[in-house]
């Protein structure tokens, strides 16, 4: 029996939005410590790991560990129906074949209830072992999203060059090339248009770079751009890189958990 209540359904909404493009069906592993998801995207180039800690919920009860196979697409559509301030309660019975979702408005005047049929998904559980990364970069998530968007104009892949004193994103395609360089501590607000008042605050997050040694790697921009869909979850994003290992893009969700994306570097001759 699983029973969990989230004060704000919007957290789950944002989380699902961040993964629904990569994962269509997945097992949500429920344990007494929280709900976790780990899945590869369809083309097996990227891996998504999601964790919602038990402490993050208002109320969390899980009698014994089990997995909920769900269609992410349908789940996302259901959660989308929730109002911004609605609370969400999810329930699943021991031997039931549905996941029960209840949305309630803050004043409990409006309660909507959904049952989503569970799927039996036979998939292998894959994980990327924790490693010591050569370079860890922390930057504004909006900035990261913007870099991806801007460079996608030129090419489908981006080269990330991380040095001690700066990080540089370069894309070169048939039509031209472009690069964006960030220095630690730099805040980019003066370059922004006035209309993006809201972004301004987010963009003022200073960039932090911690390097053991310089790393230069190339990645598919298409994937990075879809990782950037998680931007609403957090103001900052952490990139972790080492030569010849997958890149980790991590968004921390305040007090609740995190969402991590792993992406293998492109190899030149492939």
């Amino acid at each position: 029996m699983l029973e969990a209540r989230l004060e704000r359904a919007s957290v789950l909404k944002k989380l699902l939005d961040a993964i629904k493009e990569l994962v269509t069906d997945a097992n949500f592993d429920c344990t007494d410590s929280g709900i976790a998801l780990q899945a590869m995207d369809n083309s097996h180039v990227a891996l998504v790991a999601l964790l919602l800690r038990a402490q993050g919920f208002d109320h969390y009860r899980c009698d014994h560990s089990h997995s909920l196979g769900l269609s992410v697409k349908t789940l996302a559509s259901i959660v989308k129906t929730a109002g911004n301030d609605d609370s969400l309660t999810i329930k699943s019975e021991e031997d039931g074949d549905v996941l029960n979702l209840i949305f309630a408005s803050p004043d409990d005047k409006r309660v909507s209830e959904f049952d989503l049929k569970l799927m039996d998904i036979d998939a292998e559980r894959l994980g990327i072992p924790e490693t010591d990364y050569d370079a860890i970069i922390k930057l504004s998530s909006a900035e990261f999203a913007r870099i991806c968007r801007d460079l996608l104009i030129l090419n489908e892949s981006v080269t990330i060059d991380c040095q001690k004193e700066h990080i540089k994103f370069t894309a070169a395609g048939d039509t031209g090339s472009g690069s964006i360089k960030l220095m630690p501590g730099s805040s980019v607000d003066d370059e922004r248009d006035e209309k993006d008042e809201k972004d301004k605050k987010k963009l003022s997050v200073p960039t932090q770079i911690t390097t053991k040694q310089a790393v230069v790697l190339t990645f598919s921009l298409k994937y990075l751009a879809s990782f950037a869909k998680a931007t609403p979850l957090s103001e900052t994003v952490t990139l972790m890189m080492s030569t010849d290992t997958p890149l980790v893009v991590e968004f921390k969700v305040d007090e609740v958990g995190y969402i991590r994306y792993y992406l293998a570097p492109k190899i030149d001759d492939a």
Binding site: E21, L22, T24, D25, N27, D29, C30, T31, A36, Q38, M40, D41, N42, S43, H44, V45, A46, L47, H64, S65, H66, S67, G69, K117, L118, M119, D120, I121, D122, A123, E124, R125, L126, G127, I128, P129, K222, T245, P246, Y262, L263, A264, P265, K266
Partner: protein, 1049 residues
């Protein structure tokens, strides 16, 4: 394919004797021979006295050449060298003959200029002008136009009155000119684009592959020293002496032609397709059969390096390749085959041998034809035909020998999923064949005598199978009959399209009526005329018998009934007025407002040709009924088929816009009449069979297409429907002009009408039992979807139509969908194949893109233009196009790449399934695709791909699938009590898989003919191969899982 058929097939596979046993059997059948090489040559020729001995032979090839004019023959133009004809043939005793025919000059017709008089013929400026424009040809210097005759002819193209016009018949030397002359001199010239050998055959009334006789005293035989060929007998004669026998009665027999079937093996390097410049030819296997006999009398294999003995087979071993090649050429010359066959010999074997001989500098090798002076070469050519598509091929000149590449025959005549020898044999002979990947061939060659023996057996089998296919499908007989019926040379049938056959008949007929055929400039016109009509179908699932009324040979009978022809067409009102023609007395107007003469004024050529063809077919069918001899029956059956096909191609010929003689007004008239007929039939039936007229029900025409109408008479039994059907057909026929004939053919019951050109039903021709299940336009017959679709659709239809159990069909479909989502469906069922067409498409296509990718991976094994590419759709990113997701099935299997099951469900299965179930279930049908059975899925993890190098698998509990904590190896704490049960389950699964794998492995061993050797076959067409590979992998995984329990003890 139905489950029942599948079972039968696999049972057959088990019983199938290995090929070694087959060779033994052949050996016991044949005489015991001491020296194999003695059996090669033809019987020696008895001495022949030209004065008393006539020569009778069946001609197999007629070709043009320029030859010295023999001094003893009449020579009106005093030419030294002239265009002449070579005829190759075989006598009834099996001796090969070459006839050098002299004195026949090619000619063209040009309309005479105004005021032209007979006597000026040769002097006239016009002719001189003609002569200089054509110019002396390279082969024959001197004046091109040798003589001009004035003749009265009229053009076939449109009616111009009974009066004939003056034409000049200009004889020329050298046959190269052709169509180009026409455009330069005047437009149009007549009969100038007819190939010289065909002209010769038409004028002498020689049919294709027919018998010829040269009377005693009319020829000279060449002594050995003056022979130009390796034929046993070579003679010279004047063309007028030849007697052509029409292929009827006694002369419908077939000479004992020698057929050589061969196959070569070459050893490639790893990962590269053999290249003739580097990789040696290591084996050549040969089978020689006399046409009409069931066993090959020569079976041998030439091998490089020693090879262990094979029973019943002559094994010749050589230390060097040069010796091997030389010996093979000697062998070909000695055996002197009339027909050379093989699988893809034109595309691979011949060019490879020729290139290899060149690389090794074996100068004597490329003389494989019968002409001593000619060097055999492979030339690139491209064959393009509307009916057969475009494909690249190589032309190899083997003078006097016919080539029948069985691959080409298959591609032309049969629509198959795959054209590899293996799948073709599986289809026609019901046998799977071991398919050794070329990279393994080198290993076998570099092994010992035994491994080379194994390879030799494989090679022999590949040489034997084309022969068996040819026999089974009776290709030689059918093609020969086609040549005889249409009057074209045998080799045209494989190298040319449909049109030439009609051309040949048209010229023959036109000649008898003093009509000449213009050489029209080919125009790329995209005029479209209205095609056949389709009565809007009343869709639904009919649980009552539906009678089908068909027009027999609709288009030919329309042409005959309405006297439609080039020569009866009146192009304008003005012309009709000028010729004093009256409507309905002299001509009639077609539904598309065109005017054609009535037969009372002039009978058209096309109707006459068709009458001849259909009359001959009727005769052949009657003879067929009486005939008891199986060989003669085969000939007659082949003939009636050829006659039917040729009759049907006449209509197409008139409508081919890039054809030789298009007359769209005529083809449009044919379809217009066709539409009228269908509409009339509908009206007729619906007016007569009504309750008002005393019938039980009102009849309803629910559907009609081109030449058939489906009628619901409303009666409940097949018998009644048949009775009414017959009656209606006869009744309606009386309303039409002869020979248009509506025939009752069959009853469909039950009948599922899905849409235009899409329907299925049980096919009844007798009231007691149904004949078969018939499906049109439904995915069972289409090749561009995967086998899963056709299996599912076929099974569903069977359950719905035969068993009348719709819910069983639903259950079955759900089961398949569920299997698909859980990855339990065999990969071979998911393979889609498409022919690799033109090299460049505007839009990217899956198979083209994949072929490109495969070329990058391994240039050698990548598909070439015209090949069918097999692929499966694998998972990709969300917005990836289908072409990015196509992947080679073997690659998928090897790397465990997950299949895009959603694609198969949504893009392949859903539409055809919905089409079937919607008329039956209505809106409920969509639950088939999204019900509970779709909620169990399985996602495979590939072994390649960017991230897979880094990822580690986390073990999950075998009971509830939660990730395990450290210390747990099989089940989680929660499931611990179930350990015993889960262990048993896993053990069962392993045992089951092991059993399956063992069975499949033995199956493959049987197929390769030895239970003691490893299986090396990688045949992509064999469902067993995919099954074996998949089970092997599953078993490995399952065993690994089972091992996890061991920590528990």
């Amino acid at each position: 394919m139905s489950v029942a058929v599948k079972k039968r097939k696999s049972a057959k596979l088990d019983d199938q004797p290995s090929f070694t046993k087959e060779l033994e059997r052949l050996h016991q059948l044949g005489a015991n021979v001491e020296n194999y090489e003695d059996t090669w040559a033809r019987q020696s020729l008895p001495s022949i006295d030209p004065a008393t001995h006539p020569i009778v032979f069946q001609q197999i090839e007629i070709e043009e050449c320029v030859a010295q004019y023999p001094p003893n023959l009449p020579n009106p133009f005093q030419v030294k060298e002239a265009s002449s004809i070579r005829i190759y043939g075989v006598t009834p005793d099996g001796h090969s003959v070459l006839c050098n025919v002299h004195g026949f000059l090619p000619y063209i017709y040009v309309p005479a200029p105004r005021g032209f008089k007979d006597q000026d013929a040769m002097k006239c400026d016009y002719i001189r002008g003609l002569d200089t424009t054509i110019g002396p040809s390279k082969q024959s210097p001197g004046p091109t136009i040798l003589s001009v005759k004035c003749v009265k002819r009229s053009t076939i193209y449109g009616y111009h009155g009974e009066e004939k016009a003056l034409f000049l018949q200009a004889y020329k030397n050298g046959f190269t000119a052709g169509a180009t002359v026409g455009r330069v001199v005047c437009d149009p010239t007549y009969e100038s684009n007819l190939a010289y050998p065909l002209r010769f055959m038409i004028d002498l009334e020689i049919q294709g592959a027919s018998w010829l006789e040269i009377p005693a005293g009319s020829y000279t035989a060449r002594p050995q020293s003056e022979k130009t060929s390796t034929c046993q007998l070579e003679v010279d004669l004047h063309y007028e002496k030849i007697i052509a026998h029409q292929p009827e009665g006694e002369w419908s027999k077939i000479a004992p032609l020698r057929i050589l079937s061969f196959d070569i093996e070459c050893s490639g390097r790893k990962g590269v397709f053999p290249d003739a410049k580097i990789d040696p030819v290591i084996q050549i296997a040969n089978m020689v059969t006399v046409q009409g006999e069931s066993t090959p009398f020569v079976r041998n294999v030439l091998t490089l390096k020693q090879c262990a003995n094979i029973v019943g087979t002559h094994t010749m071993c050589f230390e060097t390749e040069v010796e091997l090649l030389k010996k093979w050429r000697e062998f070909v010359e000695a055996v002197d085959p009339d027909i050379i066959i093989g699988y893809n010999i034109n595309g691979f074997d011949f060019p490879y041998l020729l290139d290899r001989a060149e690389a090794l500098d074996v100068v004597e090798f490329p003389h494989l034809g019968r002409l001593i002076s000619s060097t055999t070469r492979a030339k690139d050519s491209r064959f393009s035909s509307k009916a057969h598509g475009t494909r690249d091929m190589k032309t190899i000149n083997l003078e006097g020998r016919l080539q029948m590449d069985v691959l080409m025959i298959m591609q032309r005549d049969y629509k198959l999923r795959s054209y590899t020898l293996n799948s073709v044999c599986a289809h026609f002979l019901g046998e799977q064949k071991e398919d050794v990947h070329y990279s393994i061939i080198s290993d076998l060659q570099n092994g010992n005598d035994e491994t080379r023996r194994r390879l030799a057996i494989y090679c022999l089998k590949d040489a034997y199978l084309p022969q068996r296919l040819l026999d089974k499908l009776m290709c030689v007989i059918n093609y020969m009959e086609m040549a005889r019926v249409t009057g074209v040379p045998f080799n045209y049938l494989l190298t040319r399209g449909q049109q030439i056959k009609v051309v040949s008949q048209l010229y023959r007929k036109a000649k008898t009526e003093d009509l000449v055929i213009p050489c029209l400039e080919v125009e790329q016109a995209d005029d479209q005329y209205e095609g056949a009509t389709v009565i809007e179908p009343t869709k639904g699932f009919y649980q009552v018998p539906i009678a089908t009324l068909d027009f027999t040979s609709l288009y030919p009978s329309i042409i005959m009934a309405h006297n439609l022809c080039y020569s009866t067409y009146i192009d304008t009102d003005a012309r009709a007025a000028a010729l004093n023609l009256e409507k309905d007395k002299d001509y009639h107007i077609t539904p598309n407002q065109k005017k054609f003469l009535l037969p009372s004024v002039r009978k058209g050529l096309l109707p006459t040709i068709l009458e001849d063809l259909l009359g001959a077919r009727k005769r052949a069918k009657n003879d067929l009924k009486k005939e008891t001899d199986p060989f003669k029956r085969a000939v007659l059956d082949g003939r009636q088929l050829a006659l039917k096909l040729s009759a049907n191609s006449v209509y197409g010929f008139t409508g081919a816009t890039i054809g030789k003689l298009p007359l769209l007004e005529l083809s449009a008239a044919v379809t217009a009449f066709g539409r009228e007929l269908i509409e009339n039939t509908k009206q007729c039936v619906q007016e007569k069979y009504t309750i008002a007229n005393g019938y039980e029900h009102d009849a309803e025409v629910i559907y009609g297409d081109t030449d058939s109408v489906m009628v619901k008479f409303g009666v409940a039994t097949v018998e009644e429907a048949m009775k009414l059907g017959k009656e209606a057909a006869d009744f309606v026929t009386t309303h039409f002009i002869k020979p248009i004939n509506l025939d009752f053919e069959k009853v469909y019951f039950p009948y599922l009408l899905i849409n235009k050109k899409r329907y299925a039903g049980l096919y009844w021709t007798k009231p007691t039992d149904y004949d078969k299940m018939d499906a049109k336009g439904i995915e069972t017959v289409r090749r561009d979807s995967c086998r899963l679709v056709s299996t599912v659709i076929e099974t569903c239809l069977r359950k719905i139509l035969v068993d009348r159990d719709v819910s069983a069909a639903e259950e079955y479909t759900k089961g398949v969908i569920s299997d698909l989502l859980q990855n339990k469906v065999d990969l071979s069922n998911l393979v889609i194949s498409k022919a690799l067409g033109k090299a460049e498409y505007a839009a990217k296509q899956a198979h083209n893109e994949l072929a490109e990718r495969m070329r990058k991976r391994d240039a050698g094994s990548a598909p070439a233009l015209g090949d069918r590419v097999s692929y499966v759709i694998v998972k990709g990113t969300k917005d990836a196009a289908a072409y990015e997701k196509a992947e080679d099935p073997i690659y998928v299997l090897e790397n465990n790449i997950p299949i895009d099951t959603k694609y198969y469900l949504e893009n392949q299965l859903s539409k055809p399934l919905m089409r079937i179930f919607e008329p039956i279930l209505g809106p409920k049908s969509s639950s088939l695709l999204s019900g509970d059975h779709t909620r169990t899925i399985s996602v495979a993890a590939p072994t390649i791909g960017g991230l897979m190098k880094f990822a580690v698998k986390t073990a999950t509990c075998l009971g509830c699938k939660t990730p395990l904590r450290p210390g747990e190896s099989a089940v989680c704490v929660h499931c611990k009590p179930r350990t015993n049960e889960l262990y048993r389950r896993q053990l069962d699964s392993v045992t089951d898989l092991e059993g399956r794998f063992a069975r499949l492995w033995t199956q493959c061993q049987r197929c390769q003919g030895s239970l003691h050797q490893d299986v090396i076959c990688t045949s992509q067409d064999c469902p067993i191969f995919y099954m074996r590979k998949k089970v092997q992998k599953d078993m490995k995984d399952s065993v690994t899982t089972l091992d996890r329990f061991h920590y528990d003890w």
